[in-house]
Symmetry: C2
Subunit: 302 residues, 2 copies
Amino acid sequence: MDIRHFRYFVTIAETGNITKAAEKLGMEQPPLSQQIRRLESSLGVSLFRRQPRGVSLTEAGLALLPHARLILDLRRQFIEDAHGLAQGKKGHLRIGLAGAVPLLPSIPFAIRQFSNIAPGVTLSLEESNTPALCEALLSYRMDITILRPPVPDQANVRVIPLLDEPTLIALPKGHPFTNLPEIHLSRLAAEPLIIFPRELGPGFFDAILAAYRDAGITPSLGQQAPQIAGTIPLVAAGLGVSIVPQSLHQLHTGGVTFHKIARPAPHAALAIGIRMGEQPPLIHHFITVLQQACKTHMELPA
Amino acid sequence: MDIRHFRYFVTIAETGNITKAAEKLGMEQPPLSQQIRRLESSLGVSLFRRQPRGVSLTEAGLALLPHARLILDLRRQFIEDAHGLAQGKKGHLRIGLAGAVPLLPSIPFAIRQFSNIAPGVTLSLEESNTPALCEALLSYRMDITILRPPVPDQANVRVIPLLDEPTLIALPKGHPFTNLPEIHLSRLAAEPLIIFPRELGPGFFDAILAAYRDAGITPSLGQQAPQIAGTIPLVAAGLGVSIVPQSLHQLHTGGVTFHKIARPAPHAALAIGIRMGEQPPLIHHFITVLQQACKTHMELPA
DNA sequence: TTGTCTCCATATATTTTATATATGGCTTAT
DNA sequence: ATAAGCCATATATAAAATATATGGAGACAA
């Protein structure tokens, strides 16, 4: 009982004539006769009545015909689904986002755009830190990530630069520098720096430290926040200042003001991370949409 | 994309290990690897990720797996249905009944009993005259008939005697003979005989005529009724008398009384009619139930 | 009725296809 | 470092479906 047999059965039932059915099936009559007989004997039922001018369905055949059609239909659907998945028109994408990435307008924009373009694709989003994202990626719990380079194992994760986000200084409300149009890092020498821990975001951490160094000072490290957005409440509490990606200015939690940084200012790099060597069409599409969105969306009002 | 491939796919997905899956499938590992690779290339999707310690489903594979399971299930159901049909446990039976047969208690009784025994079988009933039943039988519009022999083409219809039903005389209400315990046919010589036309029921017709002849008289033929039960209103209208199968006494249409016939009395023979040479289990079962019901149900109160 | 035509069944040969066997390479575990 | 597990490849074998050739039974027309 193979797919082939279902097709034979249905075609013969439709033509009522083994010879013509064979022609329709692109084969000769004897093998078709043989296969149908074999099918009937294996099922233990006669599907057709052999008549002088052709064949006609028996009661059993009539009863089973819709069932056979259904199976053929489902098989066709299966194959179509597979092709859809192959072309990235259908499927599911598990997206991992580094801290505060959803606050960056171009990312949600790109995601919305992608779901419009590929309505057959379902998405799931998860926010985490860069090392955890890499691990999830490599253990196939995620399909694509937007992270803050560098990544722990360059060998297995392919990193595609996406954009460089400017950073802002976050000051507690009422801080003396609040009125300055832009602040040079050197003026922060005396303030404890609240920062996202290096092990959770080495790229961002190092960029900030490098900027301090370029400004000729060494920051006094204050408390650490387990998430990038978590630095804001600490600043609001007066525990120090922080350097954060520009997108965080969208967090309208009272008690904190954001300020431009005079050059040299650190940048928060964002990149796409995918498994090395892989690039299914679904992921490829998504990357294209992301890059496009980041190019056209040169947004981020200060 | 064959049934086999679906099974391979599902089994590998379940074991996560091609070698073990092959064992489970009763085959060796290389052909299984080969078939899955062929399947993947024909679908254009990778179903599995080859990993050092086995294989794991890709997103596409995960998405397609339930679909494959469904198809395998439906195929199994198909085969089970076919076997059910083969054994007469499932299916449909188109039953043709000669005129007034449903009035005979043992027939509906048998039908009810059969639907209890074989709940998977659906039944359809149709009442018609014997020649029409035979034709429907031979053109496969019916599967089994209960008719009044003889039948037109003995060659193609197999007739299995079922029972001999006594007949009654139907008199218009108030007829002088109404009070007699039983009536000899000879006393009906003067009464027009309302009868079911010979072309629609030769067996019954001839049996009545033979009884008249045996009684030494010739009936004066009155109006004909297109159905056996149709004779009753004609009798009630005073157009004559009629000889009817005993079961018709159940028709409580006013204006007619039924009376025993003194011997020699005609009998209305009932028989099962099926297509010559065929006897699917479903029909065989039904015949058995019918015969049993007619034996135990030696009913028919006068 | 006879001849012819249509259509299915059977028999044999051929080809295709799947499978088994043997082996190699890669990765993980001990 | 060595062994074990697992998948891939190559070749050979076996099984299967199919094509070709032919026969037979019934239907239809003359």
